[in-house]
Amino acid sequence: MADNNVVLMQGNEACVEGALIAGMKFYAGYPITPSTEIAEISASKLPKIGGKFIQMEDEIASISAVIGASLAGNKAMTATSGPGFSLKQEGIGYAIIAEVPCVIVNVQRGGPSTGLPTSPAQGDIMQARWGTHGEHSIIALCPSTVKEVLDVTIRAFNLSEKYRTPVIILMDEVVGHMREKVELPNPSKIEIYNRKKPTSSPDDYMPYKVKDGDIVPEMPSIGEGYRYHVTGLVHDEYGFPTNDSSIAEKLITRLVEKIESNLDDIVEYEEYRLADADEAIIAYGSTARSAKSAINLLREKGRKIGLFRPITIWPSPKQQIEILAKKVKRISVIEMNLGQYYLEIDRIAGKYTNVTKYGSVNGELISPDEIISFIEED
Amino acid sequence: MKEIKNDKLIIEKNLCKGCGICVAFCPKNVLEIKDKKVSIRDLDSCIQCGLCELRCPDYAIYLGGK
């Protein structure tokens, strides 16, 4: 493929493009607006590259099949929207405790419930973090351009393989359905990460022991002679169920720490016109696009305002937000909900600066004018 | 711990939970329950049909060599 292979591409399509570059070989999903194109395109492209697509009977079956395929050695993905994302939570929790790499795309739509199926929203932010039960950590990435959907999807696979964890991609209907110019990367130039295979023989292999210097246990595929046990129960380093409290403490803490203590590697963000700013907007996904326009217009009126855009929503960019909070006199969190990520930003920045929020749940993109009038209100 | 060192019918007492299924369905009445564990009552009648091994839920009784 030529280096500057420029195409006009839909966000949902870019997600599949990125997944294929990352090495996706298995997709299981269920139709749901506004994510269905991801399933359709996977269905047409996967068999051509020796991969497999299956439409399952519901979203619970989809996440379950994805986990099964990953255990069998495949990079696997599923995509959905709010209602399906709710159904997948228990499965996501299983992938967390059994440390099974997989990618779950949530093309958010208006909620709750059936809500506004064809309208954008960002109402699943906290669900992405705490949707599944029990103590855990999670990685959730949020692209705001079609090209970035492709990049973020590759990164989601790489992070899921590296940290042996499910990774959530939070898009919304706008990012999913809009088309933009995309310069397709040359796959041979993209760094692709694969799960670490066992270095020990099957006899001394311990499926859930982390070797010195590693972040996660080595992971063979079903059928490679390691015959180990995978369970959703708290388990010891041999993979077998245990109620031992110290083992439970150690396991769950390790599962959280493997993500929370690697923020430098996991956290990604964009700063736009922040260098000399004395106030800032924090926005992500499609809302960040409006924020940039608003910032340009406000700058013309002399306001020194910039954008901090988290691409990694979870784990949140705590250090960077703290630094920002100490620098600016006000942070405005703009999102298509009534203040969800605001809670995280306020928790981090509230002790250093004035944190305000503006949100809407009307199924419409937040426009630059709305942002400008909100910023100029105070 | 095996009760009788024979290779006809072997009992693993620590696995037996005393359910009595093997005793009840042994066609030759070879077995009995003693202190909640299976034990051999009459080894000579055992025809090594293997029904005890077939129906032992705990793998506590099995045929030895032929």
Binding site: A61, G68, Y94, R227, H229 | C19, P57, Y59
Partner: protein, 269 residues
């Protein structure tokens, strides 16, 4: 010290297993392993996938690739495993609650696809792990902790359900007729499609006690007396059939298998 069969196929350091005195699950499990031994399959190619419940602790005891999944979802996990690597022999171990209540949707769709998975249901007519609630297999009128005045539900005929959904091998047996379970699991594994094997097992601790069915021996005797081979069953009059249970190979047909169909489609490219 255990028998050669148990020693070869079980993670013997995990024994004794957790099942109660007189529970039939150990009998079914041994039968599955005997079938695998008879077929001479390679342990590395076998993947046993189980759900949640007493039955589904079985996967932990077997020296195969084993996955103990979430409640009701074993078949969906197994579909992901089998579909992505058809060379594996995928066996699902599930209970009556696990496969027909919470897992019902995955059961009928796995059968509909006719994907090559051998599903063995440990049907003990109750939710044992959670302490004796009635399940979709509990006979009408029987008691459970959540049916203290008698179960008003009508219970599934699991085999008819699997057959209607599209399974291409359907059979039933009892732990009394464990030799038949062995034979049926062999046939199920050999069947290139969705095989559904219902094994009637017993739960003296809850189903037995709650419904005064006596001890383990009484419950096995009941299975022995009520089961009748399908060929003889069909000759019985309607009222003779009333409290008899047909066992044996109940249904078999040939239909293209799911992973093979997809792979032949892949050859187009």
């Amino acid at each position: 010290m255990v028998s050669k069969l148990i020693d070869k196929y079980y993670r013997t350091d995990r024994l004794p297993h957790i099942w109660c005195t007189g529970c039939g699950n150990g009998i079914v499990l041994r039968s599955i392993v005997k079938a695998i031994d008879n077929l001479g399959l390679n342990k590395d190619d076998i993947c046993v996938v189980s759900g949640i419940g007493c039955s589904s602790r079985a996967s932990g005891y077997l020296d195969f690739n084993t996955v103990h999944t979430t409640h009701g979802r074993a078949l969906a996990f197994a579909t992901g495993i089998k579909f992505s690597n058809p060379n594996l022999h995928v066996i699902v171990i599930t209970g009556d609650g696990d496969c027909a209540a919470i897992g019902g949707n995955h059961l009928i769709h796995a059968a509909r696809r006719n994907i090559d998975i051998t599903t063995v249901v440990f049907n003990n007519n109750i939710y044992g792990m959670t302490g004796g609630q009635y399940s979709p297999a509990t006979p009408t009128g029987d008691k459970g902790t959540t049916a203290p005045y008698g179960n008003i539900d009508y219970n599934f005929d699991l085999c008819e359900l699997a057959k209607a959904a599209g399974a291409t091998y359907v059979s039933r047996s009892t732990i009394y007729a464990a030799n038949m379970i062995i034979k049926q699991v062999e046939e199920g594994i050999k069947n290139k499609g969705f095989s559904f094997i219902e094994t009637l097992t017993i739960c003296p601790t809850y189903y037995g006690r709650k419904n005064s069915k006596g001890n383990a021996v009484d419950m096995v005797t009941h299975l022995k007396d009520s089961a009748v081979n399908i060929s003889a069953y069909e000759k019985l009059s309607e009222e003779e059939k009333a409290n008899r249970i047909p066992i044996g190979e109940l249904y078999k047909r040939n239909r293209p298998e799911y992973t093979e169909k997809y792979e032949s489609m892949m050859k187009l490219f």
